[in-house]
Amino acid sequence: MRISLFSFALILSSVFSAVLTMPTTSRAFEVEENRYFGPKDSDALKILSTTDTDLLAPLIGSFLALNPGVAIDYTSVSSAELMKAVMLEGAEFDLALSSAMDLQVKLANDGYTLAHYSDLIDLVPTWGTWRNHVFAFSQEPASIVISPAAFAGLELPRSRQELISLLRKHPDRFRGRIGTYDVRNSGLGYLFATQDARTSESYWRLMEIMGGLKIRLFCCSGDMIENVARGDIAVAYNVLGSYARARKDLASRITIVEPEDYTNMMLRTAVVLRTAKHPKLAGAFIDHLLRAAWDTPDVPEYPFHRYPISDEAQNAPFRPIQMGPGLLVFLDHLKRKRFLAEWHSTVQQN
């Protein structure tokens, strides 16, 4: 799974300006993979998702086992393509699963989704749903991934402050060996960056120091993890923790740090699309996801780490990113423009 490099600015400005007037003849959205589960002859539940098919396949399997005769047509896309498919092309899908919370909220806010009601929603913490339209089914931290080899002789940082002081103390050791998302091209990177900026002033200090140390920018978490594992870079900042955890093969070569000052938690969310042909079945699938994510006992086919649930999200070190209209702010193209300009001037000091 990777967040596409597709230009967000382009997509979003067109989304804002021409939802109604945009001809559906624009080029079709880009599909990464399409897989079909269940009996061929039945009318399948069509899922549009930014989540790798392999990751969710076990949950899909258990859902089909519980609902015999049901089939699922699973299409994985990038989050930007997902928006394009739904908002511009009106592609007919039942369900959209995405890690781009801001975009999911925008879909719900702008009326592209249907409400879903079920008893299981009570299991979800209040910050995990919005308007009975958007439902979170995972918590995935923005982590710092460290190469223990590169930190030999140093104490591993547990917070941004510690990382800052380490970088300040040992600039030569880390110069050119720090990585983070290129927020201009990565939706998730942008989300993490804006949330960081909103939460703490230390983000800009960190970016400033990292910029001074010739930070390397990456498109996606997977690249950063592999680079750290190889020892090409020593620290990767704002890496999606769930992917790092998933790379069991690299476990000995990387250390995942969830900062103690605060750790933004990205929530992977599901919405029933307004174009759904099987809204009930789509709801049932959402329930299946919610049960796996929030109900006890744990189910083995759930692919994400389960973090403790705390309603006092703002006080815990784990801070789920708050769903709601606030997320729309950073999608504003003027806001984005300003943010990116500031970020760029901070990071690219030369």
């Binding site: 804002f16 109604l20 009326g111 209209p325 003027l334 806001k335 300003r338």
Partner: protein, 461 residues
């Protein structure tokens, strides 16, 4: 007298209905006023948050390098999310261009001056929205430029809040109504109470109590009570007058009759011719018959009158029987009739002594009248379970083979009554009196078979 009065509704019910009706009206009014107030407050609250949002966006508008730029604060939209889960739309525009936000968000129809705002309730994407539009005039390239900011939010949360408020208002109204209803019932009861008390005081009176009502009553009832008192007064006067009239009439009729009868007796003593004697005897008989008839009619009228307002006092039946027997002894003696009284115990009954005495006297009168010379009449009282019985047993031949029911109808006489003076009202009077006291009159053949046995049975006191 016992005929049920037609009612024209209940005063208490009418009062209660009016009070409850006003309560219902006030409760409804309260409901709508509270709801309206709540709606206004909710709307104002919502509006002020929208305005705060628009203002904070407005504050972020600046001109940089001859270009208008907006840096929407995170809080501008997130504050709306904190109020409700409603959808949020915004637009920042100049007179000519949309700078950012939802381009096709409707525009306000009001004209907004710089530094001011306007609120609208509109429809966007099929949903009702509340929208604030703020305007600020900036200087751009030395020329004035209007920045127009609209922030809108759907109203589902407000609707839910209103539903909750209207439920509360409904409960408030209902509670008010319930309390008011209880108070209304209490008020109706207590304002009707003096009327009830007066009714009880008047109903409790004995049949002969014709005193005016003296107890204090509320001023509204004074006219009614004064009229009632005047009416009682008239009734008292009229009763006294008619009693006097009956007495006067009886006196005027009976005194000449007595004169004639006496003269006839005297004449009878003096004349010897058989045919003269026979006509004199006829004359005396006719006088007796008419006087007895008049007496019984008068008695019957009096009995009927007294039964209508029956007095209820304890009466010792044995004492009553003994007194009567004493009183009639001289008449029985004239025919050498052995009139015996046998009282067993003192059975007590409740009722009008004068009526019961009259009833028994009528029976006994008849018995003496129809009994042959030198026969016997036995009057006895006894108590039998729940019944007190006074019984007159004679040897006058009885009512063998006769319809004893018909005997007690007006003006029916027994078959042996031929030649004996009597109007036949005696048994009727007796039966009416006994039945008015909840008893029965039993006419049987006496044990010896030679006469009748008439029993008046009353429930015990």
């Amino acid at each position: 007298m016992n005929e049920p009065l037609q009612t024209s509704g209940s005063l208490r019910r009418r009062l209660m209905l009016q009070l409850v009706g006003s309560a219902a009206f006030l409760a409804t009014l309260l409901f709508f006023v509270v709801l309206g107030f709540a709606r206004d407050v909710a709307q104002q609250t919502h509006d002020s948050i929208l305005l705060a949002s628009a203002t904070s966006i407005m504050d972020s508008v600046s001109v940089q390098a001859d270009e208008i730029t907006v840096d929407i604060p995170y809080a501008a939209l997130s504050m709306l999310g904190n109020v409700s889960n409603d959808r949020v739309f915004y637009r920042v525009s100049t007179r000519d261009d949309v700078l950012t936000g939802y381009e096709n968000l409707p525009t306000t129809s009001q004209s907004v001056r710089s530094g001011h705002s306007a609120f609208d309730t509109l429809t966007y994407k099929g949903d009702s929205i509340r929208m604030v539009t703020s305007l600020r005039r900036l200087s751009l390239n030395g020329a004035p430029a209007d920045i127009i900011i609209s922030v809108a939010q759907t109203r589902e949360g407000q609707a839910a809040q209103l539903a909750q408020l209207s439920r509360s208002a409904m409960q408030l109204g209902l509670g008010f109504f319930l309390v008011a209803t209880i108070l209304a019932i209490w008020a109706a009861q207590s304002s009707i109470r003096p009327l009830k008390q007066l009714t009880e005081a008047v109903s409790r009176r004995g049949p002969k109590d014709l005193r005016p009502v003296q107890r204090p009553v509320p001023s509204e009832m004074i006219p009614l009570v004064s009229s009632l008192n005047r009416f009682i007064g008239r009734l008292r006067v009229s009763l006294t007058r008619s009693e006097d009239f009956i007495a006067e009439a009886a006196h005027r009729v009976r005194t000449p009759l007595a004169t004639v009868r006496t003269q006839a007796e005297i004449t009878l003593r003096r004349v010897d011719r058989a045919e003269n004697r026979a006509s004199l005897r006829e004359m005396i008989r006719a006088i007796d018959e008419s006087s007895r008839a008049a007496g019984q009619l008068l008695d019957h009228a009096m009995v009927t009158f007294r039964i209508d307002s029956l007095e209820r006092k304890a009466i010792d039946l044995t004492e009553l029987g003994r007194e009567l027997v004493d009183r009639l002894q001289p008449i029985a003696e004239l025919k050498d009739i052995d009139l015996h009284f046998f009282g067993s115990g003192n059975p007590k009954i409740t009722g009008d002594a004068i009526l019961i005495q009259n009833a028994v006297r009528n029976i006994l009168d008849n018995a003496i009248k129809y009994s042959p010379n030198e026969s016997a009449i036995q009057v006895s009282t006894r108590q039998n379970g729940n019944t007190a019985r006074i019984q007159v047993e004679d040897e006058a031949g009885g009512f063998v083979g006769m319809d004893t029911d018909a005997l007690t109808q007006r003006f029916t006489r027994g078959e042996n009554a031929a030649g004996t003076i009597g109007s036949g009202l005696g048994l009727t009077i007796a039966r009416e009196v006994v039945e008015a006291h909840g008893g029965v009159l039993i006419i049987e053949t006496s044990k010896t078979g030679t006469g009748a046995c008439v029993s008046l049975c009353f429930p015990l006191h």
